[in-house]
């Protein structure tokens, strides 16, 4: 798995497409594929933070679920916004969301073979 992170609107998806010259990728928006639907194509999960947000609001446990998803889709590319670099929000739900996205990114970064951070469309390899 490869992890690509960065701020909003930094060109992360475009960076992934151009760097990896993906042939017929399946790019999903904040979601994971239906079982059996990939048919050997390269999976890109874009806006991963939105998946975390929706699992939290649905009462799921993304920290646990992610482990099984990575077992199933070990070759995927995950793209996620960095959401923790701001004033700690006054609302507890928003605070919890940012904190949990951050901690899940630590888990992903540990499992990733490569971590890149994209700023101004330029990728910096940090692992």
């Amino acid at each position: 798995m490869k992890l690509v992170i960065g701020g909003y609107a930094q060109g992360k998806l475009e960076y992934v497409f151009s760097k990896y010259k993906l042939q017929e990728p399946v790019a999903l928006d904040g979601a994971w594929p239906e079982p059996g639907s990939l048919q050997g194509k390269q999976l890109v999960v874009n806006h991963f933070h939105q998946w975390v947000k929706s699992r939290i609001s649905e009462g799921g446990c993304p920290e646990e679920e992610i482990s099984g998803l990575l077992d199933a889709y070990g070759d995927c590319i995950i793209i996620c916004d960095e959401v923790g670099n701001g004033i700690v929000p006054a609302g507890s739900a928003e605070r919890e969301y940012r904190e949990r996205v951050g901690r899940i990114l630590i888990l992903l970064a540990q499992r990733a073979e490569e971590v890149e951070r994209v700023i101004c469309g330029i990728g910096q390899k940090i692992k």
């Binding site: 923790g84 701001g86 004033i87 605070r95 940012r98 951050g102 901690r103 630590i106 540990q110 971590v115």
Partner: protein, 186 residues
């Protein structure tokens, strides 16, 4: 030796800073954890408990010092001292907003910078944790914007004084500055 560790919420900065402080400590050193957070409610207690669990067994003595951080020196024994200060964002908020001694941002920033400077002189190694509060693009009320500017001023001053500056991103240390005298981990 002084190290500045910055990162956002959930970035893994605390855990990295603790490892760094431990790695800088000789067996004879006394390790101090300077806690700045004032605990309100259950979420605050849980946060403190999570941080305590991280430090458990690592031999840190905790000093609660929500303002005037240099006063923590008065609670330290003589000899080799290693201090982990967590964190600048709480300390600055306390200096700016805590009654009856609330201060304007510029004054609070000077107080924090000087306090950390004194701590640095009184310790063999000082690891300071700060927060990246600068990149959410939200235009807050004037008091919060003043706080963000004070944080920016403090981070810049501490980074200038530090021998080692690192940003923790998704648990990965990204080194921003490594001075010639730095003898800790890279």
């Amino acid at each position: 030796m002084m190290a500045l560790v910055i990162g956002g919420s959930g970035s893994g900065k605390s855990s990295y800073a603790e490892e760094l402080a431990v790695s800088l400590s000789s067996p004879a050193a006394k390790k101090y954890y300077l806690a700045t957070m004032q605990v309100f409610g259950r979420e605050g207690e849980q946060r403190v408990e999570r941080h305590r669990a991280l430090r458990r067994g690592k031999g840190f003595l905790t000093i609660e010092q929500p303002t005037e951080i240099q006063k923590a020196v008065g609670c330290m024994e003589e000899g080799e001292r290693v201090a982990l200060l967590e964190c600048i964002s709480n300390l600055t908020a306390n200096e700016m907003f805590q009654q009856p001694e609330a201060k304007p941002g510029a004054q609070a920033a000077e107080q924090v910078i000087q306090g950390v400077g004194l701590l640095g002189k009184e310790t063999a190694h000082l690891v300071v944790v700060s927060n990246n509060v600068f990149e959410d693009g939200i235009c807050y009320d004037p008091a919060t914007m003043e706080y963000i500017r004070a944080m920016g001023r403090i981070n810049r001053a501490l980074a200038q004084a530090a021998d080692y500056v690192v940003e923790v991103v998704a648990g990965i240390p990204v080194v921003l500055k490594q001075g010639l005298n730095w003898k800790g981990q890279a």
